[in-house]
């Protein structure tokens, strides 16, 4: 297989994987969220190396709701009165 053809297959494979991700996220957001949680939990357990925990945190979905006291928005930023 020539390098050009191999590169073409690589680009096609990437496009297909990204497309599958987009479709899954748009059509089945709940399932994708559960999957991300299931993948992230083993990675962030105590005793795991820091880099693995960092990967786990990046895989984990953002919390659906903010804690009490927060204004409720996604990006509170620093509190000027704190």
């Amino acid at each position: 297989m020539s390098t050009s053809l191999a590169l073409q297959y690589l680009v096609v494979a990437l496009a297909v994987v990204v497309s599958a991700g987009v479709v899954a996220k748009k059509q089945f957001p709940g399932g994708v969220r559960r999957l991300r949680v299931a993948l992230a939990i083993p990675l962030v357990r105590e005793g795991r190396p820091a880099w693995l925990r960092a990967i786990g945190r990046s895989i984990a979905p953002t919390p659906a709701t903010s804690g009490p006291g927060c204004g409720g928005c996604d990006n509170c930023g620093p509190d000027p009165h704190a």
Binding site: Q8, A15, S19, V22, Q27, G69, G71, C76, D79, P80
Partner: protein, 619 residues
């Protein structure tokens, strides 16, 4: 977090259409979060207002309410929240009562109800600019004095339009106090509203005169309905007639782009993906953008002009007979563009029974995503003939398909009405705003937003599905000793052939079966999928570049085409519509009923159509 750091809680309250949400957006910008109130499907919007002083406020946009004596779930939530009785929601520190300055007769009554709660409040005279343009003169200071609460003017659609409101909130934030005046518990609010209006507002006589003259004709039981029919007819004619030049241009641009890219790239899987998959697939969908924009231009213009509520009023009796209400009109009209905003628009229907009935039939309205399928099949199978020397046969078939959707919706809601125990009809309470000329800037913004939504869909879910379908149609490659067409060995080819066991009785071949699957994500993808399937099935590049219509007119029988047309009148909704029904009804059962009955209707109607057509020699 310390107690002192807890931000002051403000809540925007007001009648529907007072501009509350626009004001909320202006005050909070992107610092907002949208969710539902616990256990119900009423939207809860909270955001953060950052004042110029650096002080931060939590701002809640409460559901619109005509009264604190609730007639709907929205109004009950607003009442409970204002009183501080809603579970898990602390009482607001200050209520910002937003009123439409052009319609104080209606909105001031609600202000009096809110004031009676005895909580600190500010009145925001929203759309103050529109009131001024119409010659409505409001003595703000006199109103403030008469109400005993601060009154400020706001223009929610203008940058800095809420400056005075923020300054007032800053001033009272340190020391919120209850309203200075209060009415007796048994006071007549209408009487008090009339008194306040006479003291503080001067209305122009001309606006009321124009409204009266127009309403005499447009709300007439006969002339009004004829006018409404003419308006609807004009909209559908315009959608198909006016869009043609733009659609031709987009089609030509797509063909040119495919040829240029095809010549520039070396042969291989990447070229096939880009040319046969992405350009052919997306080009087949983008071509319908002009039609969508024309449809929305009319809907926006009708909405801005104040005509839509009158159309709802005119149709109330007819829709009540079929088990719907006049309030169903606007959601159903929105469903002609897309069922999703239509279903979401049912939130304005206060009665849960009418709301469910509207949600159930909304997918029967012919959404714009079905246009590509209709246009393709009509172009391929219906001859371009004049009927009675005046009407276009293809146009008539299209009109009949739209009509079939509407009639089916009325029949389904009528059957639902017969089945349910509560057969009573609920009165329609509507606010008829003054007529106004639509502002070109507002129309332009609305159309721009609609175009962006469509193009984001094309660049997002539709692009992703097209790539996935191309993959399924191209892999695995056929073996060296292949005897069947190469595409038959692909994943999609095998799935399509397996599906024909179910769909053969209604005349669908495997290519149609394949197109139905991505069509579940977005119905317009069915056409893009057919284009990709036939492009990849073609023996050579010339055949692949051929337009889809002549290919299917040669390859399909008339019975199959008619069956597919009928299928798409009822075709089960896209997955996003299912998700919207689930979210809006908070019920898996409702979603399953909706999907199930539409699939059954589609299959039965297509079966009858196909078998009859075959029996008549069209197979």
């Amino acid at each position: 977090m310390s107690a002192s750091a807890i931000p002051l809680r403000l809540a925007l309250v007001g009648n529907p259409n007072s501009g509350k949400t626009a004001l909320f957006n202006l005050l909070t910008g992107s610092r907002q979060k949208v969710a539902n109130y616990t256990g119900v499907t009423v939207e809860r919007k909270e955001g953060r207002l950052l004042a110029p002083s650096g002080r931060s406020y939590a701002l809640l946009d409460l559901p619109g309410a005509y009264s604190l004596n609730p007639a709907s779930l929205d109004e009950a939530i607003t009442r409970d929240l204002c009183r501080g009785f809603y579970p898990g929601e602390p009482a607001p520190d200050v209520l910002v009562c937003v009123v439409d300055a052009t319609n104080l007769r209606l909105h001031l009554r609600f202000v009096l109800e809110v004031r009676a709660l005895g909580r600190p409040m500010v009145v925001a005279l929203n759309m103050a600019d529109a009131a001024e343009r119409r010659g409505i003169r409001i003595d703000r200071e006199a109103l403030q004095h008469a109400l005993g609460v601060p009154v400020v003017e706001t223009v929610a659609v203008r940058h800095n339009g809420a400056k005075a409101l923020v300054q007032t909130l800053e001033a009272i934030a340190d020391k919120p106090h209850a309203p200075e005046h209060a009415l007796a518990a048994d006071a007549d609010l209408h009487e008090e509203t009339r008194r306040l209006l006479s003291l503080t507002v001067t209305m122009p006589t001309r606006t009321a005169r124009i409204d009266d003259v127009l309403d005499r004709w447009l709300l007439h039981p006969v002339i009004g309905l004829v006018t409404l029919s003419l308006v609807m007819f004009l909209i559908f004619q315009a959608v198909y007639a006016w869009a043609t030049p733009m659609m031709d241009a987009i089609e030509a641009a797509t063909a040119w782009l495919g040829a240029v890219v095809g010549n520039a790239m070396p042969a291989g899987p990447l070229r096939s993906l880009v040319v046969d998959g992405i350009i052919a697939g997306l080009g087949g969908v983008i071509v319908f953008l002009p039609q969508i924009l024309i449809l929305f231009a009319f809907i926006l213009a009708l909405e801005e002009s104040g005509y839509l509520p009158r159309a709802a009023f005119l149709l109330d009796k007819m829709m009540a007979g079929a088990g719907l209400s006049g309030r169903s009109f606007i959601p159903l009209l929105s469903s002609f563009a897309c069922a999703i905003p239509g279903i979401m628009a049912t939130r304005s229907i206060q009665d849960p029974r009418d709301r469910i009935a509207t949600i159930m039939v909304a997918p029967l309205m012919t959404c714009s995503a079905r246009l590509p399928v209709y246009a393709l099949l009509i172009g391929a199978f219906i001859p371009k003939q004049q009927v009675a020397g005046l009407l276009n046969l293809q146009g008539l078939v299209l009109f009949a398909l739209y009509l079939a959707g509407i009639v089916s919706a009325l029949l389904v809601s009528f059957v639902m009405k017969k089945w349910r125990r509560d057969k009573g009809e609920h009165p329609l309470l509507l606010e008829l705003p003054s007529y106004r000329l639509p502002h070109p800037r507002d129309l332009a913004i609305g159309l721009w937003e609609r175009a962006m939504i469509f193009l984001k869909r094309v660049g997002g879910i539709i692009l992703a599905l097209t790539i996935l379908l191309w993959f399924l149609l191209s892999f695995p490659a056929a073996p060296a000793d292949a005897t069947m067409p190469l595409i038959d060995y692909s994943f999609a080819g095998r799935i399509g052939h397996a599906m024909t066991a179910i769909f053969a009785p209604i005349g669908f071949n495997w290519q149609i079966c394949i197109a139905l699957i991505p069509g579940m994500a977005a119905r317009e993808v069915a056409v893009a999928s057919l284009a990709t399937v036939y492009a990849l099935s073609a023996a050579n590049d010339d055949a692949a570049a051929q337009a889809l219509a002549p290919i299917i007119s040669d390859g399909w029988s008339l019975a199959t085409a008619l069956s597919l047309l009928v299928w798409f009148i009822y075709a089960p909704q896209c997955i996003s519509t299912w998700a919207t029904i689930k979210r809006e009804t908070n019920s898996w059962k409702m979603m399953a009923i909706s999907a199930g009955y539409l699939f059954a209707l589609a299959y039965l109607a297509s079966l009858v159509t196909y078998q009859l057509a075959v029996a008549m020699g069209a197979g």
